[in-house]
């Protein structure tokens, strides 16, 4: 009897987890972008544009499985904050954080619109063109301090003029660098 109750409870918890994960995944896809990991071979290009200096703060909005954030934490002496709203992917990030202790890497289960980006030196994201809109740009403009860098993977920010467009060849995806 007790075993059955435990089994049913565990099944319920598991189903609830699947439901919340699925719901948060759909929400994340609609609100910012589907999970399309930045290509590993593009990391060099991204961080060349970022030009991170020791002690700076690097934000990744919608960090997916945490690949870019982990790379930043491992290779540059900077503080990295990754925001992710999809529960399943957030848990993957937390798992990766276990191997990167030392306080340089932090993942938050949070909607990016609820995070104040005032302390960021570099903000990186991959968002769909329709969400890189006025609302999103206004948030960046209002919160980021002068000199802060914005790096957008693949898609341009609405109505903003990029400082650099990095696209070495036809095959490569463009990376846009903006500066406040």
């Amino acid at each position: 009897m007790i075993i059955s109750i435990i089994a049913y409870s565990l099944s319920l918890i598991f189903l609830l987890f699947i439901f919340i994960s699925g719901f948060s995944l759909i929400f994340s896809v609609l609100s910012f972008a589907p999970w399309v990991p930045s290509r590993a071979r593009d990391l060099k290009r991204i961080f060349k544009l970022a030009d991170l200096r020791p002690g700076q703060i690097f934000y990744e909005l919608g960090c997916g499985n945490g690949r870019v954030s982990v790379y930043a934490a491992e290779n540059f002496n900077v503080k990295v904050i990754g925001l992710e709203i999809s529960l399943g992917l957030y848990l993957v990030c937390k798992l990766r954080q276990l191997f990167n202790r030392g306080g340089k890497l932090e993942f938050k289960f949070k909607n990016l619109y609820k995070e104040n980006l005032a302390s960021a030196d570099v903000v990186y994201f991959f968002g769909m063109p329709n969400v890189l809109n006025e609302k999103f740009c206004l948030k960046l403009k209002q919160e980021l301090r002068p000199g802060a860098k914005i790096i957008s993977y693949s898609f341009k920010l609405h109505d903003w003029q990029p400082k650099v467009i990095d696209k070495p060849s036809e095959k490569d995806l463009p990376i846009y660098l903006y500066e406040i």
Binding site: R39, A40, R41, R96, F99, N100
Partner: protein, 587 residues
């Protein structure tokens, strides 16, 4: 009550407890070598092979690439690269097999690259457990537990687990796992059929799954050290022929499919790096494969009409398979030095154990025949193949130490011999009638083996782990000093320190004995600061270089800084008049 349950559990599973404990201790002990000799900003290796494997594994883990681009190689005829790395049109690529890079790289990409130095100790600890499982299938639980305990202190197994970017331990562990699953797939397990009944029909899911796992792990084994196919093919054929009926067609198809699946990543990268699915980084090996294929097709074409063609073809195949010669006497001599003499405490008991086993040939079961035939086939090929080579990993060619490559290439022989040694040890302990004396003697013998083995691997030779750790700690100061003295884009010509300075600096492995190389140094000196780091030259050698050898290339050499008691950093620069010409032409 709880105490009784615990006692019963302990009686039933004591060997698992012991094995788990041994595996954990083994992992901590072998991982501590890298833990204490490396740090976040100093991950360096004692050999160029390890260094290359690490750098490419890290690159693959972080950026999913297996090439660095060094543009100055386009000017300098591809000489800018350390040992174990090659340059093709400026692209620096691995020379070694890709297995360890891909396996560790994938694991590190999912976690962090910081765990790379500790993955071999981890796999080696897992290997102890699979070795136990494998030996248990063949010689039973008693032999298996004693063999696993001996393996956990066996010097080359510890040594090459601590020197963690060599691929030999990973190779042997993957092979042991593959062999275990192969054994499990042909074992008659009623549970496997009973629990998987679908509509009253027995479906053998577990044996098929084991066959698939065996194939997958064999695939990983092959990509880790492809050159070992020379003996892997015969032994797997032997294993299969003895079990052809039990294995059947379905399991064979699953086995081959999983094997092919496991080697696909390496084939994909071979194609990208070396322009062919079957080619690797070793040019000599690629040439041998082409020669063997050519000789084989020559035999098929002309063999029917010309017996001389068959003979020539076979000689060609033999010369290519035994690329480094065929010297049976030398092979036996090496076997004596690197097994009978170096690991006498395993060799002689194993020899006597084999005689004991042989005396009971009438009681042998198929698995014993398979084990011994496969072991002797593998041993014969490995001894003939590697025994004919000349390895001088240690700078002193007369020294016979654990660091010489024979010990890592012959790991399969050592591991195969351990259960035979245990047969002898068990027989020896059985001279007593009382159980307590029998167990007492076994514990005593294992303890003696523990003591001899640990002593040997730690301080047994110039390349013992303690000496190696001391060397590693000492070079750190040297490394930091050189980095402080040279520019970030500097080129350093060196004979031994490439493994230390790459990738922080561009390196060339060279001396002043080849005019073609000096010509390239001169070209590079026009664009980059070039240094030479090696043993301190006597003044007369410096004068000779400056007055006789280097003027032809418009170069001069001058002492830059003494880094250690024996080693000096020299600056190689263009002569004044050449600099003026270069400036003029630039203007």
């Amino acid at each position: 009550m709880a105490l009784v349950v615990f006692k019963n559990w302990l009686i039933k599973y004591w060997h698992w407890l012991l094995l788990g404990l041994m595996a954990i201790i083994f992992f901590i002990a072998t991982a501590s070598f890298n833990y204490f000799t490396q740090s976040a900003d100093f991950v360096k290796w004692l050999s160029p092979d390890e260094s290359a494997n690490y750098n490419f594994t890290k690159l693959y883990a972080q950026e999913c690439r297996l090439m660095f681009f060094e543009k100055y190689n386009l000017l300098a005829d591809n000489i800018l690269h350390p040992r174990s790395i090659r340059s093709d049109f400026g692209w620096l690529k691995p020379v070694s097999f890709l297995g360890i890079i891909l396996i560790y790289g994938k694991i590190a990409s999912l976690t962090t690259y910081k765990i790379i130095p500790f993955l071999t100790p981890f796999f080696a600890a897992i290997g102890i457990i699979f070795y136990y499982l494998l030996i248990k299938e063949i010689f039973g639980k008693r032999n298996a537990i004693m063999s696993a305990l001996i393996l956990s202190v066996f010097p080359p197994y510890i040594y090459y687990s601590a020197r963690s970017m060599f691929h030999n331990v990973l190779f042997i562990v993957l092979l042991a796992i593959s062999l275990y699953f192969a054994c499990a797939s042909v074992k008659n397990k009623k549970t496997a059929t009973d629990i998987n009944k679908i509509k009253g029909k027995a479906v053998n899911i577990l044996p098929n799954l084991f066959a698939g796992l065996s194939g997958a792990f064999l695939g990983l084994t092959i990509i880790t050290r492809t050159s070992e196919l020379i003996w892997l093919i015969p032994i797997w054929l032997i294993i299969w022929l003895f079990n052809i009926k039990k294995f059947g067609l379905v399991k064979l198809i699953i086995f081959i499919a999983c094997l092919l699946f496991a080697i696909t990543p390496a084939m994909y990268w071979n194609k990208i790096l070396y322009q062919s699915y079957w080619r690797g980084g070793y040019n000599e090996m690629n040439q041998s494969i082409l020669n063997i294929a050519g000789a084989g097709s020559g035999i098929l074409k002309n063999g029917a009409v010309n017996s001389a063609a068959i003979k020539n073809g076979l000689i060609e195949i033999k010369n290519n398979v035994f690329h480094f010669g065929w010297q049976p006497y030398k092979s036996l001599k090496m076997l004596y030095f690197y097994f009978a003499k170096m690991f006498y405490w395993i060799f002689w008991p194993a020899f006597l154990g084999f005689l004991l086993l042989f005396s009971r040939i009438k009681k042998w079961r198929t698995k014993h025949y398979v084990y011994l035939i496969a072991l002797f086939t593998a041993a014969a090929i490995l001894i003939a193949y590697y025994g004919s080579w000349d390895f001088h990993d240690n700078p002193d060619p007369r020294s016979r130490t654990i660091g010489n490559s024979y010990t890592r290439y012959w790991l399969p022989i050592y591991l195969g011999a351990i259960p035979l040694a245990v047969i002898f040890l068990v027989k020896l302990s059985n001279i007593f009638k009382r159980k307590i004396l029998v167990y007492g003697l076994r514990i005593l013998m294992i303890s003696i083996i523990f003591f001899i083995s640990i002593r040997f691997v730690l301080v047994g030779s110039d390349e013992g782990l303690i000496k190696s750790a001391q060397k590693q700690l000492a070079v750190r100061t040297e490394y930091e000093q050189i980095l402080n003295l040279t520019e970030a884009r500097a080129v350093i010509v060196t004979q031994y320190h490439d493994k230390l300075l790459f990738p922080a600096r561009k390196v060339i492995v060279g001396l002043f004995d080849d005019p073609n190389m000096i010509k390239e140094y001169a070209i590079l000196a026009k664009y980059l600061p070039v240094y030479y780091y090696n043993f301190t030259f006597p003044q007369k050698d410096i004068d000779y270089l400056n007055n006789k050898k280097l003027p032809d290339f418009d170069l001069k050499i001058e002492a830059f800084a003494e880094v250690t008691k024996d080693f000096m950093l020299y600056k190689l620069s263009l002569r004044e008049e050449t600099i003026a010409t270069v400036k003029q032409s630039e203007e």
